[in-house]
Amino acid sequence: MNTQFKKGVLELCALTSLLSGDKYGYELADMLGKKMTVAEGSVYPMLKRLQSEGYFDSYLKESPNGPARKYYRITVKGVDRQRILQEQWFEFTEQVNSFFEGVEK
């Protein structure tokens, strides 16, 4: 998939996965890396950017096995952002799908 396109979608996926609860970096990287087939290393720059834009904040929490983990928590601004992006996504895919249907007939 096109990298620019994927980048935008990846942002939506990260925001969405945090709606169900706080997650630590590895969890997000592993999940997004596998499901979206992106380099896991690109997840961290995105998390940092979303954090600096105020959609996430982060905190350290002790892990049962070893040093503290950095957890990410979605902010109110992030929830709004997720909603907007999701709406745009559905709108976009609907348009593309109806275009495909038009071409097929």
Partner: protein, 162 residues
Amino acid sequence: MKKIDFLNELYNYLSPLPKAERNEILNDFREHFREGELAGKTEEQICSELGSPFECAKQYVGDAIDDNRIKPQEKKKPNKTFWTVAFFWNIVQAFFSIPITFGLFVVAAIMIVAYCFIVPAIGSIAFLVFAIASTSTVLCLGIITLLWTMIEIKECIKMMNK
């Protein structure tokens, strides 16, 4: 790729950023390695899932990334000027080493002549062996010095014509 190489490369590519920010980013990746290892992955496996350090760094740094570091640094080859200078330097060395080279041959010659007279006079086999050994040693030193200088000059000529 090993963990240490990945982190080092990443750190280098992040050089346009302030040190505190670089360390913060490195900590995120260290944590990733730690968690991956706990999940039973090897360092190589984690690295390949992360992608290249350059691509990771590029997303933090953007276009400010140091392009000089993209290619593995090629070894600088000495250029023509270097070999020209080396050529003349060797000639100078050869000139100054003539007394040594030439001197060694003279000494060898004197020894041969001298022993020719002395050996029959003394008539000892031990002395004959000593005479041959010492003469050939001096002779060999002379030849080695001469050859060495010639090889160096030849090498310089070859490189200059490249």
